[in-house]
Each structure stands twice: as structure tokens, then as C-alpha cells.
Amino acid sequence: MTLLYFAWVRQKIGLSEERFPLPLQVATIADLVETLRARGGGYAEAFAQPRRLHAAINQEHARFDARLRDEDEVAFFPPVTGG
């Protein structure tokens, strides 16, 4: 899948986009958050408080229990502050 990061999530991880083959044990966004957090470093910082994060699957807001497919584009970002 493709992972995208925005705002301070992007800054902590140090990347705006990466390819990430969906591991077998990762079924939902919540699972993905745990897997990414376990990478440590900036990932651990970015995903330290998942409640502060929002996610989108294929450019639509998604809940953390939403299921993932390897062809998905998944984005993580802070609560939005446009307007």
C-alpha cells in the first residue's frame, strides 16, 4: 500500500510518502498504527498518541477499525485546521 503523512506526522516521521507492503497480521488501521509505532524513532513519536491522529483510506476519512487492502492509499494526519 501507499502511506502518506501530513503536517506534524510528516515532520516527525521525516517522510511524506512511502510504499509499505501490507503485512499479513495487519487487518485494520489500528493494527497498522501499532506496526508503524513499533518501528521506533520518529514513527514511535508520531504514533505515540493515536487518539490525536486521523486517518483516511483512498482519500476518505476512515475509522481506526476500518479494514485495509494492499492496494489502498492510507493517510495519517492531525485533526484538520483549514478554513
Binding site: 502518506l4 501530513f6 503536517a7 506534524w8 483516511a56 482519500q59 476518505e60 476519512h61 493517510a75 494526519f77 492531525p78 485533526p79 484538520v80 485546521t81 483549514g82 478554513g83
Partner: protein, 149 residues
């Protein structure tokens, strides 16, 4: 007519409103909201980031919802991204309808949803210090009141 644009360039609110109503005599009301960068507490600049593709789609979804709730004849939503200084225009929501009430209400609905759902983020700069703005509960409450029972 529907125009949704995310751009770094400035826009002309008057020209956008004229374009919405041009050649369509059934339009009796155009309501436009223009948001400006407010230079309070020593703010020197705002930098806006967005999720290209999703921001346009998310705005389009809310414009479609507005069109089901009010009899609208035209909507323009323009949001700037990049670096902006106090006093600069940042966002335009313009709505055209036969009568004013629908135009006022739909413009407010769109602004409330833009602030809480469209994937855009503001970073403030004060001198050498930069900080991402935190989402506001007041903005969330403003959007929630539009939910249908």
C-alpha cells in the same frame, strides 16, 4: 456552476461572485465569505499544507450535500495553500441562490465543514518559532450543529 480550487495564488472575491451569477438571471442572492490571515499575537506568517486530491474531493462532497439541503444555483470554494502573511486572503466560499436565506445558510454550512473536515493544516510562524495550530472544539461544535437528526 461549481468551482472548487486549492491554489497558492490569490483570488478576487468580486470577480468570483460575478462569475457565479453571470448570465443567470434566476439568481437573486450571492453570499460570499472571505477569510483573511489574522495577525494577532505577533504572528508573522501562516503556512498551509493540504492533502492533494482528498481536499478537493472532501470539499466536493460537502458542496453536494449543501446542494441537496438548499436550492443552490452556484458554489465557489477557493482555499489557498503555501505561505501567507497577515492580511492576505486565505479562503473564499461563495454561494448563489434565488433567495438570500439559502445562500447565507449554505455558505455558513460550507465554512463550518471546511474547517473541520477538509484535510488542510495551518502552521503558525512567530519570529523564528513555528507551531502547528491545534484543532478547536468551537469549530467542531459549529460543524456538529448542522447534523441532521
Amino acid at each position: 456552476m461549481r468551482a472548487i480550487r486549492i491554489q497558492t495564488a490569490d483570488f478576487d472575491p468580486g470577480a468570483e461572485c460575478s462569475a457565479l451569477a453571470a448570465g443567470r438571471p434566476g439568481i437573486g442572492a450571492v453570499v460570499a465569505f472571505t477569510g483573511l490571515v489574522r495577525g494577532d499575537d505577533g504572528l508573522s506568517a501562516l503556512t498551509l499544507e493540504h492533502y492533494p486530491g482528498m481536499s478537493e474531493r472532501e470539499i466536493a462532497r460537502h458542496v453536494e450535500e449543501a446542494e441537496t439541503r438548499w436550492p443552490l444555483q452556484g458554489v465557489a470554494v477557493i482555499h489557498r495553500v503555501g505561505s501567507l502573511v497577515p492580511g492576505e486572503r486565505i479562503v473564499l466560499v461563495a454561494v448563489a441562490s434565488a433567495h438570500r436565506r439559502a445562500a447565507f445558510e449554505a455558505a455558513e454550512f460550507l465554512m463550518d465543514y471546511l474547517k473541520t473536515r477538509a484535510p488542510l493544516w495551518k502552521q503558525e510562524r512567530r519570529g523564528a518559532k513555528t507551531e502547528w495550530i491545534e484543532a478547536s472544539d468551537a469549530d467542531e461544535d459549529a460543524a456538529i450543529r448542522w447534523r441532521r437528526a
